[in-house]
Amino acid sequence: MRRGFHANRIQNIRKHGLLLVMILPGIVYLFINNYLPMFGIVIAFKDINFAKGIWGSDWVGFDNFAYLFQTQDAWVITRNTLLYNGAFIVLGTVLSIAVAVLLNEVKKRFASRLYQSIILLPYLISMVIVAYLVLALLNEENGFVNHYLLPLLGIDPVSWYADSGKWPFILSVVYLWKNVGYTCIVYLASIVGISQEYYESATLDGASKWRQVWSITLPLLKPTMVIMVLLAVGRIFNSDFGLFYQVPLNSGALQTTTDVIDTYVYRGLMTFGDFGMSSAAGLYQSIVGFLLVLTTNAIVRRKNRDLALF
């Protein structure tokens, strides 16, 4: 029996070995791009010294982690990451559903498509361009807000790029501006799938539009919403690096409110060259992120097998 199994397997490899040859480049690529860095997490437990090489450097156990968690940094970046992403999830979900409901109300197909494409435009462009757009608005010398909008309202100019207290608000607005066009498409696809019969009979019963949204659209949208939110919660430890790096112009003065784990890791590596600390923070993010994905996926899986990642 056992021999037969092996013989079969060898025969199968002979017969379909070409499939293995085809898949080989991708597997080698993933090994280099994804698996080698996974072995590289040992860096977090070493005092990297390039004269000795990565493998030759001294082991320091959990020193890098101890050092990281002794400082205020670990607390600040964890708090910022969770608060920003939490706010993005809540605000993004509410606004996207609202826009999707409105788009669904537009009866002319052409108009609906047009609105959709225009609202989606910010999602298409890179964060570098977004940083320029925000600069055109908030720049102290020439910015539109300080030069035109605030005087119009009788408010004194604000030093936007020096006042860290303003940035949770600014970054949330920028996030919504850039992403709502995308998330609302997902909800719209789900709303379009709701059977028209519900609405027709509700209209016959004299239900107002408002009532129909509350009693038909939103309850039927709930499964999609729960899945989308859970998947976002699974990624709550990972931030949009571009948003937090480009838009505040990588400014040190704003760091208390704009620094997240991703920017911290980047700065540790590229600015300070502190490999141990930076990779300790990175590993902290990877492991918590991994556990979060596993947990949320298990919940999604119980709700709807097809939508679970695995």
């Binding site: 293995l20 085809m22 480049p25 590289g40 860096i43 959709q116 225009i118 989606l120 990779s279």
Partner: protein, 293 residues
């Protein structure tokens, strides 16, 4: 009926306002790039130029060599990255979709696990710089992103296994075609629409990428257009100091306020101009990858 019309008008009004909010910063950017420098210093950036001027664009035109060069880099990495990315994606996805693939469950897990866990930035950086010495090479702008979204592999795999009839593949096999021939002659042609959609998403991500340039490129002659923009965000005079044309203007005569905005316009314009033509596929690409992506 009357209230219904008011309702429709209200819906349109809100959506029009959202649309204006979406495009407003772009209009401001374009207007700022076309404003005379003194007017900017006096009034700041306005929605319509107070005094119209092409100075910023004339200045950039004189410094064209750097800009053209970055466009060349961006075009090269976008074309090569998209083609190689598509090739690797389908070459992994197709064997995984065949249940005769030896070691199939191991290979599936090998691919899938990369979606769940990563080693982080520092080890990745060291692999490419210390082990493969890709720092300051054009390959560092292409290779790290080839399979960035491993989700596309899963997408193509399920497309192959559901949309390409097993009998067609089997009978081709019986007729003596090998797997490679089946892949080229049957699988890829049937998958063309999906390939186009995923190809578009890859193109956009390569065109917009600035991160690899940020960490791997110090040599300005390898800047993509995004990296040039990124650099000029913090250092407006960069263009002038690194002019390849040898023409050095007097610093005070450079219309910095508008040049800064003009370079961003030049960077984003091609994408926006092409957007109406590909937006249908873009929406499709976003929705197929939506829930799981």
């Amino acid at each position: 009926m009357y209230s219904n019309r008011i309702y429709q008008m209200a819906v349109h009004l809100v959506l029009i306002m959202m649309g204006i909010a979406a495009v407003f910063p772009f209009i401001l950017l374009i207007s700022a790039s076309l404003t005379e420098e003194q007017a900017i210093i006096r009034d700041g950036y306005r929605l319509l130029p107070a005094e119209f001027s092409f100075d910023a664009y004339m200045y950039l035109f004189n410094q064209y060599s750097l800009i053209l060069r970055s466009y060349g880099i961006t075009t090269f990495i976008t074309v090569v990255g998209t083609i190689v990315g598509l090739l690797i994606t389908t070459l992994v996805a197709y064997p995984l979709s065949r249940n005769v693939l030896p070691f199939r469950s191991f290979l599936s897990f090998f691919v899938f696990f990369t979606l769940l866990f990563n080693g982080g930035l520092v080890p990745m950086y060291l692999v490419y710089t210390d082990l493969f010495h890709l720092k300051d090479t054009i390959w560092s702008l292409i290779i790290p992103n080839l399979l960035t979204n491993g989700f596309y592999i899963l997408l193509m795999r399920s497309f192959f296994s559901t949309s390409i009839p097993g009998e067609v593949v089997e009978s081709a096999y019986v007729d003596g075609a090998n797997e490679w021939v089946i892949y080229c002659k049957i699988v890829l042609p049937l998958a063309l629409p999906s390939l186009a959609t995923i190809g578009l998403m890859l193109m956009i991500s390569y065109w917009n990428d600035w991160f690899n340039g940020l960490i791997f490129i110090n040599d300005g002659s390898l800047y993509s257009i995004q990296n040039l923009l990124n650099r000029m965000l913090s250092d407006v005079q960069y263009l002038q100091q690194n002019s390849l044309s040898g023409q050095t203007a007097v610093v005070s005569s450079v219309p910095l306020g508008s040049v800064r905005m003009a370079i961003a316009v030049i960077g984003v314009l091609p994408l926006i101009a092409a957007y109406p033509f590909f937006q249908k596929f873009f929406v499709k690409g976003l929705t197929i990858g939506a829930v799981k992506g």
